[in-house]
Amino acid sequence: MSSSFALIATGALMSVFLMMRSKNPVHSVFYLVLLFLHCSGLLVLLGLEYFVLLQLLVYVGALAILFLFVVMLLDIPSTEILRHQRGTYPVAGVLGLCLILSALLAFTQPLVESPFQTSPIPTTSTFTGQNSDFVSSSRHYSFWNNYRTATSTVANLGIRLYGVHADLLIIRSLLLLVAMVGAVGLTLKRPVSVPNQDVFRQHYVDFQKSLVQIPQNKI
């Protein structure tokens, strides 16, 4: 556990605490943004650059705005929020106890035999073992290996996403399309018969032609 991890994790926990404690939902959303920033910091420590970017771009950039809109849309009075907060104290107490216990356990006896232990990610060293089969196969993989180690994770992801799994990319675009069509279908009020004004048509009215001479017989 490095010092930077400790710093960022503490910051994340603090911002979670502040988010849950704050009485104003708008403040909560801002603490949530702070939490997202800390999470992206943790992801930087893990070396997952693309997810850092997603976290910043999607969560901080768009989702936080969406949360703000939801807060404004629902407009829950603060008394109700307070009531709700007090109602969750027992649950929070139990969960906090669990957290403290697990932290203590983690400090006193790091579990070696646990099934939840992360197995080391296979790296290039796997292919350069003593076995001659591995050596011959490592030549086979050499381009990919060199590429994988030489470029960033985002570039690797690009090759997987656009080269190998392009079909999944198309399905993903269809998922986004569902979101688009669904958002329009669910929230758009059907304008039954609103007399719309076309702004462009009004702007492009020719003033010379808009004066109409009324025929004599109509007067």
């Binding site: 930087v44 693309y50 970017l53 997603l54 771009l57 999607v58 950039g61 768009a62 989702l63 705005i65 969406l66 809109f69 939801v70 404004m72 849309l73 629902l74 407009d75 009075p77 470029t151 960033s152 985002v154 570039a155 690797n156 992801l157 690009g158 090759i159 996403l161 656009y162 080269g163 392009a166 990319l169 198309i170 993903r172 675009s173 269809l174 986004l176 399309l177 979101a179 688009m180 069509v181 958002a183 329009v184 929230t187 758009l188 009020k189 304008p191 609103v194 719309n196 004004q197």
Partner: protein, 117 residues
Amino acid sequence: MTEYVGVLLYIAIAVGLGIVILFRSYKVRPRRLDLEKATAYECGFEPFGEARSPFDIGFYLVAILFLIFDIEVAFLLPWVLGGISTGSSGFFAFLLFLVVLTIGFVFEWQKGALEWS
């Protein structure tokens, strides 16, 4: 981790600048509060209701559409950085991805989701 030093520097400067600006404006401005100034004021009356009022759902729709296109952009980034080496097949996958979303965009435009009447 050394390649992130620039980012760290950037964050430090941004935070420092924010603190400096807020602190200076807090110090420089005259603050002469009295009772009348500090009370909430609404056209000569006590405030009737909450200051916040429910939003129109149209904002929400726009936010969702923004979110969708945000994710789309996030998916385009790996193509620029690495997917470009996949050649024409990758490019066509990229184009198909964009075409699907563009047609979705045309759909919602024609539906009037972007209009504000």
